[in-house]
């Protein structure tokens, strides 16, 4: 079966969804990401959906699940690049993705994750001084 590739960038994982995903592919991505977060000790997950022409309730739920699971595993998920028409449709559909952090583009999403990594690094450094 096809898989969506997951790239590792430092302590973050980057996923760019470039195909119209069928449901099993979305479910596989959810599982793969969860495994990979633990395997590499990722602190951030960036999901670029700028190529997605629609987000329906299934994909919306997948994004929510990934965000919730990664939070439990001490990683932060940021969804970036949602098209305006997709955002309008999602809200009308009844999904607000309230558990998902979003940013306008990859650059801003990466900045969010980098800030979190820096804050954690500072906290660790502080502990060592104590």
């Amino acid at each position: 079966m096809d898989r969506i590739p997951i790239l590792k960038m430092g302590r973050a994982l980057l996923v760019t969804i470039q195909v119209d995903m069928h449901d099993r592919l979305a479910t596989a991505l959810e599982e793969d990401l969860t495994t990979k977060i633990v395997a590499v000790g990722a602190k951030g997950v960036l999901i670029d959906i700028s190529a997605l022409e629609i987000v329906d309730s299934f994909i919306g739920r997948m994004l929510d699940n990934i965000a919730a699971v990664s939070r439990i595993l001490d990683a932060e998920t940021v969804v970036v690049g949602m098209r305006p028409a997709v955002a309008i449709t999602l809200v009308e559909l009844g999904l607000s993705l309230s558990g998902v952090k979003t940013a306008l583009n990859v650059e801003r999403g990466m900045a969010l994750i980098a800030r979190r990594l820096e804050a954690e690094q500072e906290a660790e450094d502080g502990d060592e001084e104590d």
């Binding site: 119209d20 995903m21 069928h22 449901d23 099993r24 022409e53 629609i54 987000v55 329906d56 309730s57 299934f58 919306g60 739920r61 098209r83 305006p84 028409a85 997709v86 309008i88 449709t89 999602l90 009308e92 559909l93 009844g94 999904l95």
Partner: protein, 135 residues
């Protein structure tokens, strides 16, 4: 009201749901829908096609480009021979699901369309139809 074009798509697998989305996009562009309206009708189609599999055990979609005087639009009809829906009002309510989903499919599809109709007979099947007109 005239039908300019009709496409039929079998819905058996999650790949067919993708196929329905892609076909609906082509028809929505042909009917001249705006990008936001295309996105709404394609999203609604995705919800209803998935329902056809999850609750109807598979079925068929009829996708049409309509012309009514100077008005153009897209009508989508999803039909299955599944168990049917005993309480339609309940099925339309957000958050209600008899399966593993979010329960947004039917109500969400209704909100994303201009016209919505549903017929269902227990033991016979369900037919859901939505129309989106060019604004």
């Amino acid at each position: 009201m005239a039908t300019k074009r009709t496409e039929r798509v079998d819905i058996r697998s999650s790949e067919d749901v993708v196929r329905v989305r892609q076909q609906v996009r082509v028809l929505a562009v042909e009917a001249g829908l705006s990008l936001v309206d295309q996105t709404k009708i394609v999203t609604a189609a995705s919800e209803l096609a998935r329902n056809t599999i999850d609750y109807g055990g598979g079925g068929e979609a009829m996708l049409e480009v309509l012309e009514d005087g100077r008005r153009r639009g897209v009508r989508l009809t999803f039909a299955d021979q599944g168990p049917g829906i005993a309480d339609i009002e309940q099925a339309l309510r957000d958050g209600f699901t008899s399966g593993g989903g979010l329960g947004l499919g039917l109500g969400g599809a209704r909100r994303l369309a201009n016209e919505f109709s549903i017929e269902s007979t227990v033991g016979v099947g369900t037919k859901v139809s939505i129309t989106r007109w060019k604004a």
